[in-house]
């Protein structure tokens, strides 16, 4: 598979545990991550909040560079990055905008490459193949699959799964042999980029999500987003302090769970570097 890898800033920063988990897990499935050269930040929330053109130009640069380097598919494990890339791709559908963006980013943006999130990556590998590769089914796990905002939204940009009642992550988790729960906050927001700047909101939203998962009988959360992981894992202690209750909810990356099922160790997957490790 000639799939380019766009890590994004988070995976090369505080969410490097996610990257390690990905590399270990996908490596065990014979997928090597071919990191594209010269990638830059996608602009994240800040760009689309403050400068619309920039919020298209930054991902457009990345998409154009990836296309220049011949990647027909680009794997962006951070949903914010992949949404931004898809937004640029959608914008490129308008010839006038495509030309303008190409000029701005000094590269020919074609908007033809396919952008994959983590779930799509596993779907590409194949659920059947995953199933047959399972060595240690994580039977003790009852997971609440958490999609957050940008895996499924905005639907006319990302075109992924059902944006109200998604089930693609459950399909993968179930294929590993773990249980999943039906719960209410699959696509609610965790506060995303407000981690630093508006902590109150983040704690409140994270609290709702964590409690709802627990109430529906989950013993862990599964995410496919570094931001969600920060807000639910790193901030969990703060949530517990603010709301005066013990939650102890382990938050796995989807790749963690797949890796465990494939027989990888928690260390190989960096699970030991999470804040909440065991309830």
């Amino acid at each position: 598979m000639n799939i380019g890898y766009y890590p994004g800033c988070a995976l090369h920063g505080s969410s490097n545990d996610y990257e390690q988990s990905l590399r270990a897990c996908l490596g065990a499935l014979d997928v090597q991550l071919d990191e594209m050269k010269d990638w830059i930040c996608c602009g994240a929330t800040a760009a689309h909040s403050l400068n619309h053109k920039l919020s298209l130009a930054l991902p457009a640069r990345n998409l154009a560079v990836a296309e220049r380097d011949g990647f027909k598919q680009l794997f962006a494990p951070c949903p914010l990055c992949s949404m931004q890339l898809l937004k640029a791709k959608k914008a490129a559908g308008d010839e006038r905008v495509r030309k303008e963006l190409s000029e701005i980013v000094e590269a020919d943006l074609r908007g033809e490459s396919e952008v994959l999130n983590l779930i799509q990556m596993f779907e590409k590998i194949g659920v059947a193949r995953l199933k047959s590769a399972v060595k240690a089914p994580p039977k003790s796990i009852t997971a609440a699959c958490y999609y957050g905002c940008l895996l499924t939204r905005p639907p006319d940009v990302v075109h992924f799964d059902d944006f109200e009642q998604p089930t693609s992550m459950e399909t993968i988790v179930a294929a590993l042999g773990a249980k999943t729960v039906e719960w209410n906050y699959k696509t609610e927001c965790c506060g995303a980029g407000m981690t630093m700047s508006n902590e109150d909101i983040v704690l409140e939203l994270a609290h709702k999500i964590l409690s709802n998962a627990a109430e529906h009988g989950a013993n862990c959360l599964v995410v496919a987003c570094p931001m969600c992981h920060v807000n639910l894992d790193m901030k969990q202690a703060a949530v517990e302090r603010r709301f005066g209750k013990k939650l102890g909810m382990v938050v796995y990356y989807l790749s963690d769970l797949v890796g465990l099922a494939l027989g990888l160790s928690a260390e190989q997957l960096s699970i030991n570097r999470h804040f909440v490790t065991q309830a």
Partner: protein, 193 residues
């Protein structure tokens, strides 16, 4: 500021530049955006009211609102809007205009500062330098608010992050930062207030 409602004037004459066909005039004020918004209860003006202000041409009220800085950009409003108004896009456009005119709500200084510092950070580095971001942000907030303790808030996390090898003291930088700079220049807001 001109008091012109959307739908009555061509968009290029509006004080707020809506980049995509957002069709604020389509909104019939059902409030589904407010109903689904995860942070609506913290807003001074509810999301549907923000759109209403845009409909009425009450730009100043909209641009000075706290609400546009509370918005977390989760896209729930746009996704569920029965009239297919891109409410989240309205928020983005208002933020951009608010900042350009220096009207950003002072109570939400930290959000504004964070976004600005974030962009400045990637302009310089091409990729985000988290430590630098945190440092700048904290300093900015403290200088602005005089709340010294903010400097040490979450300080307890640092060793924890370090223990988990999550602090990258020497982060990677993009190779060609010149192009990043030029992209920023070309995208600099063309619309002056």
């Amino acid at each position: 500021m001109e008091n012109q409602a959307l739908g009555q004037v061509p968009s290029e004459h509006l004080p707020v530049h809506f980049p995509s066909p957002i069709q604020v005039a389509n909104c019939y004020q059902c409030g589904k955006c407010t109903a689904g918004c995860p942070v609506a209860m913290h807003m001074d003006v509810a999301p549907n009211q923000v759109v209403r202000l845009a409909q009425l041409g009450e730009w100043e009220k909209a641009l000075r609102s706290r609400a546009i800085w509370e918005c977390v950009g989760c896209q729930t409003c746009s996704t569920r809007c029965p009239k297919e108004v891109d409410c989240a896009g309205v928020m983005d456009a208002l933020r951009e205009a608010s900042l350009a005119r220096g009207m950003a709500a002072p109570e939400r200084f930290s959000v504004v500062a964070f976004q600005k510092i974030f962009l400045e950070n990637i302009r310089r580095n091409g990729r985000l330098n988290e430590l630098e971001l945190i440092g700048h942000f904290k300093l900015d907030v403290v200088l602005h608010t005089g709340r010294i303790p903010f400097l040490f808030k979450d300080a307890g996390l640092a060793p924890q992050l370090g223990k988990r090898k999550k602090l990258h003291l020497i982060p990677g930088k993009a190779r060609d930062r010149g192009v990043v700079n030029r992209i920023f220049e070309r995208c600099a807001s063309e619309r002056k207030p």
